[in-house]
Structures are given as structure tokens and as C-alpha cells.
């Protein structure tokens, strides 16, 4: 790594920085008299200063990065050994989640208990971060909104006809991937999986389908209205149901949601519905990112 950086540095020393200010200066010199000659001199000096600055910046950047890495590595040597049983990170908080999680939350997957029961408010905020990012990308990249701007991006031509191998492979694979995603979401409280991973797998299947068969057919399945409605409904359901469960839980009131028998499919109270809501949000937003970056529309 060090060698590469040094070579970079040398190269930046050797070649002058590309600057069109010199061209401007040459032209202006021909065009007008004294003032412009001064400007040319100034810009030459500017250019030199910029080259010097670049060198200094690169040296300082390498030094700073190396310094930070060495400092952090030095502090890593003081950490307790990797994988030790008595490490301070494994404290009473984690033990409480492990011992009482199944009884209190009802899900066998203890991580699902943490993120959708104990720390469900955190996960709501997280889903909202994803939603906000999707809104920002929609504002920035949606083509319809930018059509009347003076330099609207040239219309992206229709999808090229996909490769027959891709079409056959997608026809075979995308239903299987969809099933896997649904399975991961629906059994997120019983084993590995959950809304986030299942939603990402679902969106992968949709993206594969769209790559193979074009935006037209995928667009019939998931229009902008459906996309907006599904995302909003899932987030609203999450917020309302979690508000109810916080209210009843925090005040010791009887709740209609009970942990049930841990291990059966219909158990763990609110965790499976929340997994479905989170899966829907993640799937819609991942697919939305793809569609917006690909074509600027749903």
C-alpha cells in the first residue's frame, strides 16, 4: 500500500495539473492588453500554488491516514482477546436478552426479539431512515419531475432485448428466490432470517425479473402507486401497532398480543406482523433504488 501511495505521489509531482485556466490565459493575452496579462500571470501563479498544495495535501493525507491506522492498531492490542468468554462486552444486558428473551418476546430467534420487541422503536427509526433516503433519491433522480428543466437528461432508450440465457435463468430462478424471501420473512421469529434479510432477497428477485424482462412487465406488477401505498401502509402499521404495544406494555395493561407458544408459526405476538411490515418496506425501497438509478422512474 505504501509503495502505491509513493508512486502516486511521484506521478503527481511529475505531471503538471491539467488546468484550462492556462488556455483561458493564452486567449485573453491575445485578446486584450495589460489587465489580462496580469490575469495570466496571476493564473500561472495560481496553478503553481495549486500544484504545491496538491503535493502537500497528499503527503499530509497519507501521514494522517497512517497515523490513525497505527493509533487504532495500537489500541487494538489492548483489547481483551478475541472470542474470550469473560470479555466485558458480554455483560448482564446480553445475558438478560438470552435468558428471558424467549419468555418475554416469544421468538426463538433472539436477535429478532431484540430488534422487534425490546428495541422496536429503534427499528422503526431505522425503517424511517430507509424511507427518507428513498424519498431523497426519488426527488433527485425522478425523470418526470425534471422533464421541464432546460437540460433534462436525454431519454434513456428502451431496455435492450435481454440475453436468452438471462431470460431462461430468470424464469427459473426468480420464483425460487421469491419463495426463499417469503420464507425468510414469515419464519423470521423461528430461525435465521427476518424482515431485513427477507426483504432484501425479495427485492433481489424483483430486480432479476426486471433485468430479464424489462421495466414494462415488472412495472405492471409494481407501479409507482402500489409502491408508494405499500411502503406507507407498512410504515404506518408498524408505527401504530408498536405505539399500542408500548402503551400497554409500559403501563402493565392487558394486551391482545401474547407471546404464545414459542416455536409455533403463530407465536411471538407482534413480531411476525412487524417482520412482514419491515420486509415490505425493505423490498419496496431496494427495488425502488434500482428502478430510479436504472431509468429514473418506477
Amino acid at each position: 500500500m505504501r509503495n502505491d501511495l509513493d508512486r502516486d505521489l511521484e506521478r503527481s509531482l511529475e505531471e503538471p495539473r491539467p488546468a484550462h485556466s492556462r488556455l483561458d490565459a493564452a486567449h485573453l493575452h491575445r485578446h486584450d492588453g495589460r489587465i489580462l496579462r496580469q490575469e495570466a500571470a496571476l493564473s500561472a501563479r495560481d496553478e503553481q500554488a495549486q500544484a504545491v498544495f496538491t503535493v502537500i495535501y497528499r503527503v499530509l493525507a497519507v501521514l494522517a491516514a497512517a497515523g490513525i491506522i497505527l493509533l487504532l492498531l495500537w489500541s487494538v492490542t489492548d483489547l481483551p482477546a478475541f472470542g474470550g468468554e469473560r470479555n466485558p462486552a458480554d455483560n448482564e444486558v446480553a445475558r438478560r436478552y438470552l435468558e428471558d428473551g424467549v419468555r418475554e418476546g416469544g421468538a426463538l430467534n433472539l436477535v429478532a426479539n431484540i430488534i422487534l420487541d425490546y428495541r422496536a422503536f429503534d427499528t422503526l427509526g431505522e425503517s424511517n431512515v430507509l424511507f427518507t433516503a428513498a424519498c431523497a433519491v426519488l426527488l433527485l433522480l425522478r425523470r418526470q419531475r425534471r422533464a421541464d428543466l432546460p437540460h433534462a437528461p436525454e431519454a434513456i432508450e428502451a431496455d435492450p432485448p435481454a440475453d436468452p440465457v438471462l431470460r431462461a435463468g430468470a424464469a427459473l430462478l426468480s420464483p425460487a428466490i421469491l419463495m426463499l424471501g417469503l420464507y425468510l420473512i414469515l419464519t423470521g421469529h423461528l430461525g435465521p432470517g427476518g424482515g431485513f434479510s427477507g426483504g432484501a432477497v425479495l427485492s433481489g428477485a424483483l430486480i432479476l425479473y426486471r433485468c430479464a424482462f424489462g421495466g414494462g412487465r415488472a412495472g405492471q406488477l409494481l407501479t409507482y402507486r402500489v409502491w408508494r401505498g405499500a411502503t406507507f401502509a407498512a410504515l404506518a402499521f408498524y408505527a401504530v401497532s408498536k405505539a399500542y404495544s408500548f402503551f400497554t406494555g409500559a403501563n402493565g395493561l392487558p394486551s391482545v398480543f401474547s407471546p404464545g407458544t414459542p416455536g409455533s408459526l403463530f407465536s411471538a405476538g407482534l413480531i411476525p406482523p412487524l417482520n412482514i411490515a419491515v420486509g415490505l418496506v425493505v423490498c419496496c425501497i431496494m427495488y425502488g433504488f434500482f428502478a430510479l438509478f436504472r431509468k429514473g422512474e418506477m
Binding site: 488556455l23 486567449h27 487494538v76 492490542t77 482477546a81 445475558r95 430467534n109 436477535v111 430507509l130 433519491v137
Partner: protein, 175 residues
């Protein structure tokens, strides 16, 4: 530096080195896409660090079995898994936002070089200030660009012709 301690904590050390690679990429590259990649490297390094903090040798993933009620000492720490899950979602959101901003910057300035974008943006600001004056800088600016092309065709600095031809016409930019 105690090398044995580094070897004992190899997962954390690897995370730090990954973080350093990301940081160096962020500092040294002028291409915006490479900066985004460096940022993602740093994200992944943090996740690796957190996940390795929660690992305990010889224990299983924190999923209780329905048949037998295993004790807490059978599982690794479940908290870092939950935290990393949050972090991954946020890093995906931030990456998408950075990439879409990069797309818009490229559409406007037709380059991904950050220095060049800053310079062009400054020129834009100067032009929009000068446009109020009777002999606006805007006209001079437009002429400069055209003549720069002429100078290039005359044989001056031929290597730069392509780069300069890629510069957008200031009149085409929306304000």
C-alpha cells in the same frame, strides 16, 4: 507494538486495516465514485469490528431451539448482531443518497472529478454575479470557452482538447 496481541485480535486488526484503506481512498481520490466506495469500506470495517466484539469461541448463533431450553452460556452475544443490522440499513441509505447526488453532479458538470466540480461551480457563481453588469462576465466566459477550443485546434496543448471539450457550455446549465 505487541504483535502477539495483534494476532490474538486478528478480526479487529483486520477491521482497522480495512477502515484505513477506506479512509485513504476517501482522502486521496478525486473521483466521487471512488470516494463513495471508500466510504462503504469504512462502513464494512465498523460492522466487522462490532460483530467480532460479540463473538465468543465455541458458542452458537443466538437462536433458541424449540425442543430443548438451552442456557444463556450456549450462545454468543446477540446485541452486536442487532446493532450491525441497524448500521447496515443506514449505510445502504447513505450510499444510495451519495450515489444519487453524484448522478446529479455528473449531469450538471459532466465530470466526476471533485476539484473540477468545485472549480466549475465557482465559475458558475462568478458568472451569475457578473451577469448583472452591462458587459457581463457571462459573455466573456462564453467567448473564452469557444476560443479555448480554437486555441486547442491551433495546436496548443492538444492532449487537453478532449478534457476541455467535455466542459459544459455555461449557457446550457440551469440556474
Amino acid at each position: 507494538m505487541d504483535l502477539q496481541a495483534l494476532l490474538d485480535n486478528r478480526a479487529e486488526a483486520a477491521a482497522i486495516i480495512l477502515f484505513g484503506i477506506g479512509l485513504t481512498t476517501l482522502l486521496l481520490h478525486r473521483n466521487l465514485l471512488k470516494k463513495v466506495i471508500g466510504f462503504s469500506f469504512m462502513d464494512s470495517a465498523i460492522f466487522l469490528f462490532l460483530a467480532s466484539e460479540g463473538y465468543i469461541s465455541g458458542r452458537a448463533a443466538p437462536i433458541q431451539s424449540a425442543a430443548s431450553d438451552l442456557p444463556a452460556s450456549a450462545f454468543i452475544n446477540p446485541l452486536p448482531a442487532g446493532l450491525v443490522l441497524t448500521g447496515i440499513v443506514v449505510s445502504v441509505s447513505v450510499t444510495a443518497l451519495m450515489l444519487s447526488l453524484t448522478v446529479r453532479l455528473y449531469e450538471r458538470f459532466h465530470t466526476l472529478d471533485l476539484d473540477r466540480i468545485v472549480r466549475l461551480a465557482r465559475e458558475d457563481a462568478a458568472v451569475s454575479v457578473g451577469a448583472a453588469a452591462p458587459v457581463g462576465k457571462a459573455e466573456r466566459k462564453a467567448g473564452t470557452n469557444a476560443d479555448a477550443g480554437a486555441a486547442v485546434s491551433a495546436g496548443k496543448a492538444e492532449q487537453k482538447s478532449e478534457k476541455d471539450a467535455a466542459l459544459p457550455d455555461p449557457e446550457r446549465r440551469d440556474r
